[in-house]
């Protein structure tokens, strides 16, 4: 369970950092880089979450004898 909390904190950290980078780049006038930065952050977190979802579905399949 402890590991889970650290993953949550990492994702929240990534979110906050991406938001800061977005605003900083926007002030510097580089709009596109801001969009790229938030997109990259989004994709990193998406990979985290997709791994979590696949573990969950694998667990459920094994527990509830899903053959179909």
């Amino acid at each position: 369970m402890l590991g889970d909390a650290s993953v949550l904190f990492q994702i929240a950290g990534i979110g906050i950092i991406v938001a800061m980078i977005h605003t900083i780049l926007k002030q510097m006038g580089k709009e596109e880089y801001a969009q790229f930065a938030s997109l990259v952050g989004f994709i990193i977190v998406l990979i985290f979450v997709i791994n979590g979802i696949s573990d969950l579905f694998q667990e459920i399949k094994s527990v509830f004898l899903f053959q179909g």
Binding site: M1, D4, A5, V7, L8, F9, I11, A12, I14, G15, I16, V18, A19, H22, S38, G41, F42, V45, L46, F48, V49, G52, I53, D55, L56, E59, I60, S62, V63, F64, L65, F66, G68
Partner: protein
């Protein structure tokens, strides 16, 4: 105590979501999804012990394995449909959540068809023709 960890995880997640929600709502949704997955994973481990007990009792009472298996699959579908529906409702998509619940009910009905036919046939068998 498991429950203390789960409750603290829920509170930590809600706090993190509130922090991240203003700047990046999409990350907040990821946090909600991950918290739901972690709590579900811990619960699933305990559920599997209970289901093994049910299977053992079913085998001892020599009930046909097919019925127990269908019941377990129905429970699994209900669990998943409820999980998906609540997560999509959290994201604000109530209509999609309702569709997921509808799909879950339909799939459960589809699974229950063989059991229903068996019950009806036994009932008809009792009635003296």
């Amino acid at each position: 105590m498991e429950i203390i960890q789960i409750v603290s995880l829920g509170i930590v997640t809600s706090l993190l979501v509130l922090v991240v929600k203003e700047q990046r709502p999409s990350f907040a949704f990821f946090l909600i999804l991950l918290a739901g997955i972690f709590i579900f994973l811990t619960v699933i481990k305990h559920v599997s012990e209970i289901l093994n007990l049910i299977q053992y009792l079913g085998a001892r009472a020599n009930i046909n394995g097919m019925y127990i298996e269908t019941i377990l699959q129905i429970i699994g579908i209900a669990y998943l449909a409820e999980f998906g529906a609540h997560i999509t409702r959290d994201a604000g998509l109530a209509s999609v959540a309702a569709k997921i619940e509808l799909a879950g009910k339909v799939l459960i009905l589809v699974l229950a068809v063989p059991i229903l036919t068996a019950v009806i046939e036994t009932i008809i068998g009792f009635i003296p023709a």
